[in-house]
Symmetry: D2
């Protein structure tokens, strides 16, 4: 097999050249792609019906960073780790930075939590009680301080705010409270950092969510300032919504901040990205790679982050698998022959245009990815290598028993 | 029966007073409510599987205005009629105005059609070909001229623009073309008139729609000017979307222009408004009546319009029935005890707040509506009276055979 | 107010008689309606994002029976309580029966739990490992024994079985295992008892559920025997599914076993029944009351049970409110003039037929319900009375601290 | 390029062998796959908003057969053509058979039409009026006679029956009428032929459809006899339904009759199969190829048929493209390493099992398909060859003007 992929890559390279593609530019884009993993993706998670613990699962921020380090070691493209406060709170953030550095990773986006405390039963920024809103703002202040301590430049906001029943709250009043609190948070941001605003159709609120869709997130971002942008979580839309379209819309508005990668068949299932509809993921990347190839289209780099919750898969396997799936989608998207596509579009040649897209999608990019991974010094087949290793077994031995402060991570 | 409703009304009045409601204000709001009917709702319609003609169906704008006049005569609240150009084109708009006046109605919103002509196969404002966009803009110019001729102050825009397949068009380029064309149209508007921008998730385009949701419609409206507002068609959302929430959001943004009333269980079914989920319709009206009761919240009156497509119901029966259903929802919404509701909301008394809403909804407002209809000089029970009349039979005799220029109306 | 409802009832009675309805038969049907409440509905519940405890919440089966007793005392129509094993396991079921009797309630359906134990991580009846299936069957045996002990005649089956990812399991093998295990369970049933098979589209499994829809549940029931029937949970369908239609289909197949009442706007939200679309609930009851009025249509009485999960509402308030909503739907359904409806249907008079249904729905049945409650010796307004009482306050004092064995109830 | 694919095929063959797959068996299965095209897919179609004619579109059954012949000539796998009666009615079926034979195709499934005639406004088999049901049955008789004349062994049934509003009809009465009429039709079937029963969630009926889902179709099929089977149209499900699961369920019930291939993002969009979610199509084929590989699992061959409606794509291009997409899905499904998959499933190795499936899906099967096409004597790249040909231009010249009797085909 070892030789086969090299032969495949040679043939693929010829084929891409025959198609008129710039293989060097493609390789560069693949090699430059980075994807952040979430600390909470390495720890326990579950559904409301139960949480099934896994042997060797990370219990503390240090163990999560270890696992994130292993993921980065194998994939070569996951140098940063999103943290969730208070789940990942530390007494000494300098020490934490140092520990992360030992694992060859850095702290990435800081994710505040204003939904778990009993005070947030009826909301945080949307809460009717000014004291609860103030408490939430103080938590934001704390998170911004942590950003400075750990050198993070992204504050990533998700709210569970909403209601379960008609009448429960006044929509417009809640909107006005959200506007005020988001503006106040925006002012707390460390210099040169961004605030990403996530939206979600429903859950845990079952009648309305204050930030229900991209339109609301965009509206709030516009009211804050240009460093407030929209975060797209792939599992947070109504059935049937064309995500790649709204991604393009947000790009054009200069308000696409980043992604929470995952997949779903029904609701916010938090499954492995690309596991339900890999073509959709590819189409989203087709918008992203097109914009990234243009100069000056994007005011900031798009923050690619994973946000999943694996109940039946081994956590670290799932994370590495996800990185492979996301890389596959990106690599395929880079193979779209833009020139040919533009020509077909100009002629309303529907079949011709679709073929440009399909041709890229149908290409097996595994040899390309392997070739780039070799260049990056990563494992040629990260998931396979990991599964052959004894990492899980070793950690299962080392990480026995409960450790205080290990939270359940979902959003 | 004749006496019964008066006794019921007396009891209801007492009950409402006991609840602390201002019955006079409620009656006034019910009496002032107006709802526009669409010319195309009186003519033939169908699904892609076929159109089943009905005896006596209106074939021309004149016959449609006759039917709209009958609807207004019975309900007393439908004095205006939306027209669709070119389906309702006339040689002499003064004469048409006069004919409408004879039926005791006026021309309301003007609805351009940039989807039926073969040139629009691949779009209108989003079309890649500048000549098609220019043609669409010329049609807008024509419609604005008609607005002046007939004294209409609403240009109501719906676009079939979109694509069927990935790759077929460039989302961002289409967005930019739409922005330009909408801005150009905005400049054509007669003085003191408004432009309403409708959105729709899908159909007839099956992969993406250029104006897919309220967020896109709002975005374009903001780029045009303050007299550009969003039109909410109740059948144009993804499953699960909380419509009353986004209605409130648009109210707060001062961009809620109006409604196309109808209902759906699945897609854009264009069923009688209130026939699938009357509670949802009531909840939408609960947002509207709350805003209308506040001074200065709304920059313009909200345009209430019906847009339905009845394939199995008698057209005029369906229209009158719709008006009754919409009036019922509005009247019930007016019965929400706002003071009590605010108190429950302030205490996060979820059950208490929901009961305020449910109490209003569960009230039988038929006696109230009959009492107001009596005051307006309308039929006490418009649908029942119509069904007892020989209007349909007479028209079935009078309107035999085809008439040139009668279009199929759907959107 | 006290007098007002009696006057309203007098008028309503006259109106119903004018409509040609048999008021005595309607009153009898309303008075005979019974609805089972679930033990787990009185205890803590939540979403995967957290569980917010409520003061006074029941912690043990005894406290749950106390609360169920209070619900029955006020409503007069909730004499039975569904239990969940092992959450409600007791050392002495005779004593438990006695305790229930003191609260004036009885044990109703027995609900096994084959999803919470770690062994069930990959399923129960569908599990690849024969030992897990045997364990699940032993639990069924235990539940059937409990049925005998407590005099229950319903075994109510819900399975979390399913998979999260394509390939994870073989659909047909799982189906065959389910068939075998369900047949084995059927044979364990105590004499004269029934087995109800619930279905659910998704959650907690996110790719496939072994019992995904009514068609699968029916198929398995047919393979077991005539006392195996389908249980319809109102929140377990795909968006857009016409529930009243499949209810009618199951009635005609003589396989409608019962209901789990709740409501949802999105997924399995487990909201108060009738809170999202009360008209849909009414339409379901319109099928049920029609079948119940016919002799010999139903082989067994339909088991009406509540299954909800209230995170923001006071548990007991929510339960009583639910009973009121369900009674309202049933009472309205009884007001449909069947004779008039049949005539309109025979003539394809769509508007006429819909009016028969709408007329019943739009009637305010509160006075009828109050009159029947008076006759039953229940509270005239159960929810209002409960909210005025100090039950919650007293229990909040009495039920401080944790009690071992209190489970989290959701399905 | 010509040489490249051969090199790719050599490498692919080695890779498949390395994976332990039986390449000869795979090639045989690919070579034996056949897919029926529908006569109506070559003629005009549209949405309710309009039908945009295409130059050269087939207008008569003869022109449709010509186009079907061209499709078969290029792909080599489409030797049969489904017909729709009365759209494809002929005076002399022997002559029609002969004409088809000249195009190297045969008539396949016969599709009755009991929805277009005005008599069917309120249904066919479900209609309240016995005369309408008799008329529909007579049409079935006619279609069975045509089956004999043309040598077809499949009667393919789709019904538009349903209602638009609650109350419009009695669900159970309609069900009973359907049972009777389907049983009567079953008895009319020519010897050794099958009756396939299609289902659909909604459209053109918008409240309920008599055959709403697979469960209903299966139920009716069981009531008819073993040669009545279920037809799965990929666009006829509620959002979120796991189609591959119910396909497996139907296989296990020995009631999977065949497919109508297409795709959708929203409702019954009738888009090119595989254009929205090609992975889902592959997963469906993974169930089919597994069953086809087992002896005795399937009582009859599964009937693979296309049913699409192309409004913006060139009809014949779209048809050929569809065949390629379906072949791609089938070929990839054949690459699943069943033995490895079984082992992973037995160990609940979720990631391992998914990888077996994904590995097959991610393989580029184009060289395999080309190699098999070469063997079949078909075009190596059918769509590309067709687009380079002047077929469309020539037909556009030859097929000018209207021809009587050309119907609009959709279902």
């Amino acid at each position: 097999m070892a030789d086969l992929w090299r032969e495949e890559w040679k043939l693929l390279e010829r084929k891409l050249q025959d198609r008129g593609l710039d293989v060097t530019a493609i390789r560069t884009a693949v090699a430059n792609f980075r994807c952040e993993t979430p600390s909470w993706g390495y720890g326990p998670s579950g559904t409301r019906f139960g949480v099934f613990p896994q042997p060797g699962e990370a219990r503390t921020i240090h163990e999560k960073l270890e696992d994130a380090g292993e993921c980065h070691r194998l994939t070569g493209v996951c140098p940063t780790v999103a943290v969730h406060i208070p789940w990942d709170k530390a007494d000494d953030y300098d020490a934490l930075k140092g520990f992360a550095a030992q694992q060859k990773v850095r702290i990435g986006a800081v994710n505040p939590n204003v939904f778990q405390d009993l005070d947030y039963k009826y909301g945080s920024f949307g809460h009717a009680d000014e004291r609860v809103r103030r408490k939430a703002l103080e938590h934001m202040q704390e998170c911004c301080a942590i950003m400075k301590s750990v050198g993070s430049d992204i504050l990533s906001l998700w709210f569970a705010d909403g209601t379960d029943y008609p009448g429960q709250a006044d929509f417009r009043e809640r909107k006005q409270r959200f506007t005020e609190c988001l503006q106040a948070t925006y002012k707390m941001l460390p210099a040169k950092s961004r605030m990403l605003i996530e939206y979600k159709l429903f859950e845990p609120a079952f009648y309305h969510t204050d930030l229900a869709d991209w339109g609301m997130a965009l509206n709030f971002a516009q009211k804050c300032g240009e460093n407030a942008q929209v975060l797209v979580d792939l599992g947070h839309h109504a059935q049937g919504v064309n995500i790649e379209h709204l991604v393009a819309f947000l790009i054009d508005e200069k308000r696409l901040g980043g992604f929470h990668f995952n997949n779903r068949k029904y609701a916010d299932d938090d499954l492995t990205c690309g596991s339900t509809n890999p073509y959709e993921l590819f189409l989203i990347f087709a918008e992203l790679t097109a914009a990234e190839a243009e100069k000056s289209t994007l005011p900031h780099p798009i923050a690619y982050m994973i946000d999943q919750s694996h109940n039946t898969k081994n956590k670290l396997e799932a994370m590495i698998q996800t990185v492979e799936q996301v890389q596959t989608a990106q690599a395929k998207a880079l193979l779209v022959n833009r020139k040919k596509l533009k020509a077909a579009q100009a002629n309303n040649d529907v079949v011709g245009a679709e073929r440009c897209v399909m041709e890229a999608y149908n290409t097996d990019v595994e040899p390309l990815l392997m070739s780039v991974r070799e260049q990056l010094g990563a494992a040629l087949k990260p998931l396979e290598i990991f599964r052959l290793s004894d990492y899980t077994r070793k950690k299962a031995e080392a990480r026995r028993g409960k450790v205080a402060g290990a939270g359940l991570g979902v959003n």
